[in-house]
Amino acid sequence: MCPFLSELFPRRTRTISSNDRRSMYRRIEPERLKKWLGGLRDRVEVLAPGKENGLWTFRRFDGLALPRGFQNSRLPPKALFLEPLKALFEWKSQGDSFKLNPFPPADGQRVIFGIRACDARALRILQPVFVRDYEDAFYLRNLSRTLLLGEACQVQCQGSFCEEMGIDPQDSGDCDLFFREISQGYMVKVLSERGAALMGEGDLFEKASEEEWSSARRKIRGSRKKPFFDLERVRARASERFSEESLWQRISATCINCGICTYLCPTCHCFDLCDLQTPGGAVRFRRWDSCAFPDFTKMAGHNPREEKWRRYRQRVSHKFNFFYQNFQAMACVGCGRCVAYCPVNLDLREVLLEVAG
């Protein structure tokens, strides 16, 4: 591990210790929050939920109004960290000269307001992938240059199973500040020093108590009383039933290999490296790829995941078995995007139930 990089990109910003509990909570009125976020734009890029082409996304905050009716973005905010298409370096050849120019990682601080607990967790889940053995400066710089201002969910998202995945949709340890909406504004939990620094010295944020924070917890509309499945059992059974071909064939029967589950997934991170030729040179890109695609593992002469059931088994096993073995975390946060937007209604929750069966 390179000490230089580690210094530049701290694994995590220092979190607030329990001694500082009393100063952990704040309250802010909606108008003041809007003013504060708007003011931040002078110093940093401020991203907040907004609609583009009828779909929620995180985009530059216009300072005019706080988002209303936001549940979650269609594409996960991972796209702001692991970009769908990222130019890594270019080369130019002219006559005998041949020059390779690396592109530096993105610069400039930014703030994402409104990120959900699930998506914030997903960014942390992915972190060790991009740290272990070889540090991916592109991902790590994106993490370190971004402050996450999370917001508690009010409504259970379609297809979601975040609580089964151990995520509290109304709290987060993965953000810098976390907001809970109350009738006259927001309660704020301060989770990192840089989050505290971002709030500033002024009087926009009022001090609040732990009790006030706790009482701001709301019942989530549409939440289930009982969990859909037992996660520990899923993990154990996914491993035990890996070789059960008939199970995976049955489960994956309706899958059409479109890959949308992987593109919408906040923890799917598989990528391809590819070249684009330009006049007198070319650019190397890192771009999202999907284990659902038949040519994902296609080599000269053979393909170890030629059959669809092997590819579907790979996706489920990677998330709920292999990733856990390698990083002691599941590569799933239960956001429900893959369930809600699967064109053939292949419901991962039902798949996991069956695997656990």
Partner: protein, 282 residues
């Protein structure tokens, strides 16, 4: 391992120059390369069994093992069978052309566990390339090892790679060299038959031995079975596996066999390691 690239850009290759191209067969070529950066030529090191990512700029990147030995460091060698876009582009290149090199990546053959043993190398086709690095390495420290047997097979005499090495090993009195082809011709003097079958005919003793094999997946699969029939235990057998790779860094997510990533946990595995978990994906 090697110096970090500017900006910590782990995807950025070093520039290397092709200094020699050797046609091995009708579809396979060996490239001798040298770093453009003189300092890197001095400091670069690797182990037998490791691989690298090679770029043909504008065409893409592909994974090949380093087929030369770390005991012969005046240049690096890698061998390429023409099968796809990048390999075809590589075959178009000549001496003096520039390509990209990222590496070395992956683990390597366990020299410490092979020392003092009888070594059995079983290779097929272009699968001889990673074994060749180890064979040269072992021959350069010949006294550290006991008997050396090399069994190498290809489809036909025309498909044999590294003929100059096969020749040298054949004439090396301290090496038992066996070549076999699936289909011979009138000039063919070696054996005729599939590698696993010839292996069982030759029947090397497993006592105090270690077997190292690499070749097409189907050959590896049956060679492992033959070795077991000959009495080799899984801990005596090493193989180097091929899987589709892009990054070589354990990040791009495609070269896994079960929880193991061939690019980082491999490409060299003992049968003991891969025997206990899924083996239906290679």
């Amino acid at each position: 391992m090697n110096e970090r690239l500017p900006e910590g850009n782990i995807y950025q290759p070093h520039l290397v120059e092709i200094i020699k191209v050797i046609p091995e067969t009708w579809d396979t070529r060996t490239f001798h390369i040298q770093f453009q950066d003189a300092a890197l030529r001095e400091t670069f090191s690797f182990f037998s069994g490791q691989f690298a990512e090679y770029s043909v700029f504008g065409e893409g990147e592909a994974t090949f093992c380093i087929s030369s030995s770390p005991t012969r460091m005046d240049h690096l060698e890698f061998s390429v069978k023409r099968v796809g876009r990048v390999t075809s582009a590589l075959h178009q290149l000549n001496e003096g052309d520039t390509i990209g090199f990222r590496g070395p990546y992956g683990n390597h053959f366990p020299l410490d566990k092979l020392k003092g043993k009888n070594l059995l190398f079983v290779g097929g086709g272009i699968g001889l390339a990673p074994l060749r690095s180890l064979i040269q390495n072992v021959l350069d420290h010949r006294l550290d090892y006991r008997e050396i047997t090399i069994l190498y097979g290809a489809r036909s005499p025309q498909d044999l790679c590294f003929k100059y090495d096969l020749e040298a090993w054949f004439h090396n009195p301290s090496v038992k060299m066996i070549t076999t082809v699936d289909v011979g011709d009138k000039d063919w003097k070696g054996k005729v038959g599939l590698v696993p079958n010839v292996l069982e005919d030759v029947a090397p003793s497993p006592v105090g031995a270690a077997a190292i094999t690499c070749g097409p997946p189907i050959m590896i699969r049956y060679t492992l079975k033959s070795l077991e029939r000959l009495g080799f235990t899984p801990s005596q057998i090493w193989t180097t596996l091929e899987m589709k790779m892009k990054c070589g860094l354990g990040k791009c997510g495609r070269c896994n066999i079960g929880p193991l990533y061939v690019c980082k946990d491999g490409p060299v595995f003992s049968l003991e390691e891969i025997g206990y978990f899924v083996s239906d994906e290679f």
